[in-house]
Symmetry: C2
Subunit: 396 residues, 2 copies
Amino acid sequence: MSRRSGSAPATTGEVLHLIRTGEAATRADIGRLTGLSRPAVALRVADLMDRGLVAEDTAGPSTGGRPPVRLAFNAAGGTVLVASLGASRTQIAVCDLSGAQLARTDLEIDVERGPGVVLPLIMDVWADLLGDRPAAGVRGAGLGVPATVEFAAGRTESARVMASWTGVAIPPLVAARYPVPVFVDNDVNVIAMGEHRAAYAREVRDLLFVKVSTRIGAGVVAGGEVLRGALGAAGEIGHIPVRDGGGVLCRCGNVDCVDSVASGTAILRDLRAAGRQVATLADVVTLVRAGDAETMAVVRRAGRLLGEVVASAVNLLNPAVVVLGGDVAERFQPLVSGVREVVHRRSTALSTRSLRIERSRLGEDAGIIGCALMVTDHILAPDTIDATPAREPAHH
Amino acid sequence: MSRRSGSAPATTGEVLHLIRTGEAATRADIGRLTGLSRPAVALRVADLMDRGLVAEDTAGPSTGGRPPVRLAFNAAGGTVLVASLGASRTQIAVCDLSGAQLARTDLEIDVERGPGVVLPLIMDVWADLLGDRPAAGVRGAGLGVPATVEFAAGRTESARVMASWTGVAIPPLVAARYPVPVFVDNDVNVIAMGEHRAAYAREVRDLLFVKVSTRIGAGVVAGGEVLRGALGAAGEIGHIPVRDGGGVLCRCGNVDCVDSVASGTAILRDLRAAGRQVATLADVVTLVRAGDAETMAVVRRAGRLLGEVVASAVNLLNPAVVVLGGDVAERFQPLVSGVREVVHRRSTALSTRSLRIERSRLGEDAGIIGCALMVTDHILAPDTIDATPAREPAHH
DNA sequence: GCTCTTTTGTAAATCCAACTACCTAAGTTC
DNA sequence: GAACTTAGGTAGTTGGATTTACAAAAGAGC
């Protein structure tokens, strides 16, 4: 990673990385991989064990001599507080250091009540979810919010549905009660990162995540990092126009935005116009299951229109994978087929040569997992580990 | 940069960075900024002077005591070989370490003759251009090629106009004669990086460069880095379709690709269809100067159509600046106006809040400058400096 | 011209981190 | 169960880089 390529000795953070990735399972492995001497390895491992990040596992199998003590990343060595705020629902959880959920509650909170109400509520839920787990074990907090976020400061810039949240710096509010690093990002960015890290990180460094739900948004992972843009507004594909949209007026004032012709809202509208009795997406699912031709056609057309925009994005970004998520994409195979059809027709040959277009693997857990990984990614990064002293230099 | 934020002492590379950026101009400055002791500073500066990267300048003004010896980045401390290969023309130059051109030749080479012919020719020109300058002073080489490039290996993947160049790993071929680091990238990426580093780097980290010439392409700088995508094909916007293109058949087989309706080729075709006698873009320039209404309309329409694609890209990437380059964009103000008009109408409010849309500042030098900066960026990066020993440990 | 201030250089001392060398632990193999 | 093999720990030594302390250079101010 950030190793000074020459011959600088491996740092504690790099040793943790070897253990986390499974490249090294014993002290001897670490010595072989890094070229570090036994004492140096022992020092770093002891440091990591002091911090609770690494644990000695059962003894491994002998290969003819003393069996090695297996080292493993200690996911239980700390907890991460996460919350994924949505327009309709907020998911709140406590995760371990691997991002696995230890406890979770989904709440119907009216986010419009503003950060002064919602954040304390979330923090109370965190306290509940922590239960007996020591508060000192909390290593960080991560929130995904349906707004544009200036990531470095964790400040919401412009909220799509939460006017009361515009311009709020969230980390200080959380850190006042939980004095740990706090990370905040846009909800779709968080999901994109979650999908990437949890399902694709080993194979892929460039991923486009498209969320199709009530609205349409995207998150871009480029070169392994979330692409945020100048104001944190990257990925706002909802108001890119499509061709042959039929002249639908979008609430943004333009016509034929992909949001207005291919979102869940648009599908419901089109089905009602076709005389179908659909109140919610669940009704659409029923019609699809029943094999209703009109419904299939509407969904597939939405997929094709969305595919146009995805094709443009594929040409521009050249991702290795396009992941379609959000409740609409996750439930409707015809939509995914429609996207595939158009992308392979309209993107350049090179961009689609090895392009995969898939449905979300994480589903509705993506937000929670993404938030947790956003935190652990920073907290366990070699640079962060190396910048943090092993233990307090002076006690006072 | 990659400084282990804690309290690790500043490295030689970081000291060079301070001097290059002008943050520190004397040894005392460096001591103050880094917290390093005088001997430690002296050691690093001596190292940099040994390498020829830093030179003692005139003595600075005294502030009441001994006047400081001013330190300056020594751009003359080495040379960089650069070449920007184009379909119609190849620019070849020798630059100093600041990217300034020391000598340059533009050639009409038929790149189709293949790397076996063209590369030796370029290397001969470099030898000519170097003249009396010592070959040992060559620190690196950089090439921009009109092809998709796998950057890490410097291998061309898919060549747009140069079938004979497909799948060629260029660095070994150059390094055989000039044993220095060799960097190769797509021509538009190189120009985008050049514009960013040379004109915008201090203010902006996200930039979209669009080249409008015979064809249309783009280079993306995201978070200060060139975005390359999974196969190095990012930025291929030429075959994104526009709405209301009129059903023009593009050579890619689809209709209404922006390349087929807004490129230089398309403008010439449309003017001819309108009865204008235009052989080259120079004729179009004449007509624009003469204020020909039809010509203005055609160019402006091309701008508007291009603007649609740029607007989509702006929504997706949220750049701080859009730079329009290539000979068409550089010569035709109406095209730029057309882009501006549509982008501000069709991109989301947040993305355009502080968006600037400008013509290239570097013009036809962009390729050369970009190539030089691509090399110096790597060669002078703190990590590279620190990974390179000061002088040979053993002579043999 | 003398003193003060600021900058830079040099040498001895110190500190920190890693290494070598030696030792113990705990298996397998015969 | 004796010898071999591999893993892991400990202590003194070594090496490199940095710092402190001491000096010297070079101009400003009086």
